[in-house]
Amino acid sequence: MAINALQAALLGLFACLASLPGMGGTTIGNYTLGRPLVGGLFVGLILGDVQSGIIVGAAIQVVYIALVTPGGTVSADVRAVTYIGIPLSILAIHAQGLDPSSAAAASLAAALGAAVGTLGTVLFYGTATLNLVWQSIGWKAMETRDWNTIKRQIPLVDFVYPWISHVLFSFIPTFIICMAGSQMVQLMKDYMPMDGLAMKTLFTVGSLLPAVGIAILCKQVINKPLDWLTFAFGFTLAACLHLNLIACAVVAAFFALIKYQIEEAKVARPAISGGVGASDDEEEEDI
């Protein structure tokens, strides 16, 4: 199995759309086309093996299910994970004669996806840095204080020029790596035996990485030590009671409702006792 030029070009185009920051926008690009599960469908369509695409996409998706990028801190690049990692994984699985739906294939895909995703952060910084050039065109337009120039340049800066960044940092890397895919996978197979230290480490890293994504989320919602108890409560629901995420969300919503009513009562109480003056003021105004 090999990837031809047209297929590699299509993968490159999808990489441009699905990046963060990408030309497909945030909602449709990054959060739809950039999700490995969705990407698996499109990679599968491009390579003519939809089933393998989705199975591999799902395996990689598990690693990146909670991928957040707070304040532009990027731990993995979705264009690389999805449009380089999935095609290479499909090639590797075929090359090694693994059953795509086996656990071994899933681990291979997760580790390979994580490896290219981490290396792919270079592409993120490349894109974001080159965008500074287009933004400087925008700032120059603002400085002219000429409305026609501004009106023409701002949309160009925001919607058109960044395509150049993506040709350089999304299209070309994806195209080259996917074209070289079969050889790369063969090299990896020859020089990195599965029971060797390198591959074992790679696979172990693949299983540890989701902890980073979740820890990033914890930074947002855990502000005091006792919040870990709330976290542990949700953890226990899933780990011990085997509730799925929807069931956990329902239980969480119930407790949040109680929390809301308590907090609201706390806000309302000072208004009753200490708010006598305030209501007096109002009465005075009425008089």
């Binding site: 919607f159 980073v212 969300a249």
Partner: protein, 297 residues
């Protein structure tokens, strides 16, 4: 005074479209979403002011740095459209007021958006989609594509329109003292579901074999509580994972999430260095036999 100015539906739609699509297209580490914001305010300012000089001055307000969770942040764009309309009608709203509101909202909204939309909502949708895509079925990806985009489109549209209608009063609703109860309740849902995500979608296990005890997988935690005791009796010794998973299932998941959080918040280590530390941990773990994926070609 002249007749009251009102932003046309067309201009608002264009502004919404520019933001919904272009919020991050020209992202850089220095200005982040600033150009997306300028593109979104362009049609608004263009319609509200007659003189070119006024248009330029008004747009310059939005050259100030902006960055938040872009989808929930749609509300801020709608809100400033409302404020700009009020300003064009002669209300005393200066640049400082508008930028104070933008700066005051972008932090809290980023926290809410990242934990609720990205941390809770997306994992739930993806969790359902993963269940539907078993065996490589296209149903899973299709479900996610449709559900996510439809809900986000209407959610963002609602956020924009509500922001526009509420204007300044939206700020109080979102960051004022009254909102504290709502925000803490929402963050509570976030913490709980993220805990569930940690237990569901992370699987860290040890392959350590202690001499004379046997493989630890045999005495792993099981939901049928009898297994642990029986396995213990069979092997006749206490092994490391009994201490971990026997007391609490998937404890290693918890430990690693906590460790990463601790390194990032308490030790101020960046995300990439934390990942490199994990690579080192994995390497050492494999060397001493703590981790072993146990795979072969």
């Amino acid at each position: 005074m002249a007749e009251t100015k009102k932003i046309s539906t067309g201009a608002r739609r264009k502004s919404f479209r520019n933001w919904a699509y272009g919020n991050l297209t020209c992202f850089s580490q220095a200005h982040m979403q600033t150009f997306g914001y300028l593109a979104a305010m362009l049609p608004i300012v263009d319609e509200l002011y007659d003189k070119d000089e006024d248009k330029v001055s008004a747009l310059e307000t939005y050259t100030t740095f902006f960055n938040t969770e872009p989808q929930i942040g749609t509300m801020v764009v709608g809100l400033t459209a409302g404020l700009e309309e009020a300003r064009a009608n002669g209300e005393a709203i200066d640049d400082e007021t508008i930028n104070g509101i933008r700066a005051g909202l972008m932090g809290p909204l980023a926290g809410l958006g990242d934990s609720i939309i990205v941390g809770t909502f997306i994992p739930i949708l993806l969790g359902i989609a993963l269940g539907l895509s078993a065996g490589g079925s296209v149903l899973g990806p299709l479900f996610y594509i449709v559900a996510w985009n439809v809900l986000m489109y209407f959610g963002m549209k609602l956020a924009y329109d509500r922001g526009y209608e509420l204007g300044g009063s939206a700020v109080q609703a979102l960051v004022g003292p009254e909102s504290q109860a709502l925000r803490s309740a929402i963050l509570m849902v976030g913490a709980m579901v993220i805990g569930a995500v940690a237990a569901t979608w992370v699987s860290i296990s040890t392959a350590l074999v202690l001499p004379g005890v046997g493989p630890l997988e045999n005495v792993l935690w099981s939901s049928s509580s009898t297994v642990t005791a029986e396995a213990l009796n069979a092997t006749g010794a206490v092994s490391l994972n009994v201490f971990g998973s026997g007391i609490f299932p998937k404890l290693l998941n918890f430990v690693f999430v906590y460790l990463c959080w601790w390194m990032m918040t308490k030790k101020k280590i960046g995300v990439i260095p934390v990942m490199l530390i994990l690579v080192a941990v994995a390497f050492v773990g494999v060397l001493v036999g703590f981790f072993n994926p146990g795979l072969s070609y």
